[in-house]
Structure formats: C-alpha cells, structure tokens
Amino acid sequence: MASKSAPSKTVVLVGSRKGLFVLKSDDGRKTWRADGPHFLGQIVNHALMNPATGTILVAVRAGHLGPTVFRSTDGGKNWKEAATPPAFPKNPNEGAGDNYGWVVNHVFWLTRGHVSEPKTWYAGSSPHGLFRSEDDGVTWQSVNGLNLHPDRLKWLGGAQESPPDGATLHSINVDPFDKNHLLVGMSSGGVFESYDRGANWKPNNRGIAADFLPDPNAETGHDPHCVQMHPTVRDVVYQQNHCGIYRLERAQNRWTRIGDNMPKAIGDIGFPVVLHPRDPATLWVFPMDGSTVWPRMSVAGKPAVYCSRDSGKSWVRQDKGLPPAQAWFTVKRQAMSADQAAPVGLYFGTTSGEVWCSFDEGKKWQCLMLHLPHLYSVEAYTL
C-alpha cells in the first residue's frame, strides 16, 4: 500500500466513560478541533469508522439502560440506533444448557469487516460474545459457531472468571488476505481462530505463558489483552497478553515472547499493542505496573511508550514530552492507535482523561486534550 503524505485530513474517535469526542485536523495534523461530546453521560466502549464509506459505529451503554450500537452515515451529525442490537440467542427451554440464557452487558469491541465487504462489521461483548452485521450495523446476528460452541465454558474457565471490568471478547481481527479467517481474543479464554467465517473455532495459545493457571501449558484459559493482525502483510500477528508481549510464528503456530527483550525494570505487562500500518517489524506498547496487586498504572509514575523496529528483538523507550514523574495514568486496550500517514501519527487516551499524540512515530509527544472523562478507546484515521 502506498503511504499517504501530509497535508491530509485526520479523524480521531475518542470513546470515554461519559461520551464520544471527535478530534479533527484538516491541515496535516497541524491544528485540531474537537467535536462533542456525543452521547453525553453514556459509556462509549469503542467507536470506529469505515473510511471507505464514512460510516461510524459506536458501542453505547447508559448506566440505567441496556447496551446498544449507534451509527452515523454523515460524519457524526446524526445518529441512529441499530434496529437489532447485538444480543445472545434466546433460551429455547429450561434444559437447553449453559450456553443459553446469556445477556449482553455491554458491547465492548467493534471491528470492520473485510475490505471486500464494506457493509460487514463485527462486535465483541461482555460477557464473551461475537456478533456480525452484514447491513452496515443496522441489524446484528449472533455468531453461534462461537457463542454456542460446546466447549465454550471450558475455554473461558467458567463464567466466574472475569477481569475487573467484566469478561470480554475483544481483538476481533479479519484477515486482510482471507475474509473467512477470523481471530479473536477472549479474556479470559485465550486467542481463537476460525477459517470458515465463524462456524468452527480452534484455540491458538501455544507458547503463551499462563502463570495464573494450574497448568501453565494449558491449551485455553489465557488472558490476551490485545491482539493485532497486520493490515497489509500476511501472517504477522502481535499480542499484548496478561503474561507478556508475543509475536506469532505462523509456520509453527506458536507464540514467541518478545517482551523478554524489554528492560527488566519496566517489564512487558500492559494492555494495548499498536502496529505500524505498513512496516510489519514496527510496533508500540504502553507498559504498566503489573506487579503484586496489579496497580495498572504507569511504571513508577513515569509513563512511556516502548517501540520495537525489529519485530520485538529490541525496544526503545519513547517518553519525550510525556510527564517525567508523578503521572499515574495508564492506557486501556483499545485506547491507543496509529493513523496511516507518513510519518505515522500515534495517539493514546489515558485513564485520567488526556489524549496524547506524536506525529513522528513516537519520538516526541504532545497533549492534544485535557480534562476529558476516563478514556476507553482511541481510533485514528487518515482520510
């Protein structure tokens, strides 16, 4: 893919605990304006755009009301609710089994379908559920190959096993070279893949540490935090896991812990992992304190991004412009993103309501917005 050069238009969708903010630049990222909040006071777990069609989808939940998805086809001027939001299959009878009777608490993750299917979207929910829309987000159907899989509860380690914000299905990846190949992450549960559009699934967790499980070599029950498939290079997949940073060796279908190459004082625990849109060897992570009780804050109160240019063999600290001390925020799994310009712009949103950005691939950082609510998602687009 040819790189897009500035000046360009950039849109950054920022989801928060209290609404959606839209940041826009029309002059190659020199000046910015903020639009919003949309859905004031409502929880926005994820917001995504399809740059090819302009459709924006937003996963929304109000504190009192059930979860839903809103969509806009005019750049966010008007919003319309999905006619049939993501929902689990209705329990057909009392003896239908433990896979029935589930209720979507919130839609947690959104992913665009394959480029050849511009009206297809996927949604992941808490508790673990996968849903697909084939009409640009108007109606959603349960992907029953996963949601009703007979081994599902065994994979998840039981319904009681869930992280603090709820058990989730996230990191939905559609293979850019095969529209029927899906890869998802489940917390907990692990990484799972389907090569038939979601009808059948297999775990893919070999090589991933699981030091919280009785069997550290278990095939399932892992805790991927964020899994990203490269958008333009075949078979390049990186993962930020509860137990480190990994690269998938596709030939062996085995993960290598590239986080072992991080500085020991920093460790390799965090939530987001962001890939360079063109270079398959470049990725960024945002380490956090995952020691003892899992504080989930910047290590030692000194936030930093770490970048690898060699597929994880070595890492460089990128903290120029970030607070040098006493900054205790962190970054959630869908709150860090790269645009598609050259050089690549990086953006992350913090748990303390700040949006930070870098327009030189992480060498220098600047704060784009302050005083926002707790930030859940950041997605950047070069138009």
Binding site: A62, G63, H64, L65, G66, T68, E81, A82, A83, P85, A87, F88, P89, K90, N91, G101, W102, V103, V104
Partner: protein, 86 residues
C-alpha cells in the same frame, strides 16, 4: 393508557415524559411502546425477556417484577430508571 417515562428514555420520544400505549399485559404494552418508539424495549428488557437490573416497572404505583401482568385501559404505568451509583 398513560405511561410515564424516566429521563434516560426520552431520547426516544423527543423529550416527552408521558406517552400513550396500549396492551392487555405489561409485556404487550412494552411491545407497543417499541412499535411507537423503536429500540426502547431492548433498553429495558434483555434478550432473555427479563427486566434489566436498573429498570423498575410500576402499575398504579405497585412495583411489578414480571411482565406477565394483566392491564386495564385505566391503569397508569410508571417506568423508573433506578439510581445506580455515581
């Protein structure tokens, strides 16, 4: 019959707090509300047909815990979005 709505639901009614709906049961009434204001029912009732945790339904000021409740045209329905923290 009259249905009084909580503020989180008035985005469906252009801000109107009191609307009309019909139905011979609470379940039927909520389907009629959804016909008039598409999407409203799912925000109150989950996919398994259960009333969501923070929604309370009153018929003539009496709290109902089931949708299988007969209604008369003279009944008054109050829907409350219960307080759920900060």
């Amino acid at each position: 019959m009259k249905v009084k709505l909580p503020t989180p639901l008035v985005e469906y009614t252009d801000g109107i707090r009191e609307v009309e709906a019909i139905g011979d049961s609470l379940d039927a009434l909520l389907f009629d509300l959804d016909r008039r204001y598409p999407g409203m029912r799912f925000r109150m009732i989950d996919e398994q047909g259960q009333i969501r945790a923070h929604i309370k339904l009153f018929v003539n000021a009496e709290l109902q815990r089931s949708l299988v409740v007969s209604l008369r045209p003279s009944d008054e329905i109050l829907i409350v979005a219960a307080l759920s923290g900060g």
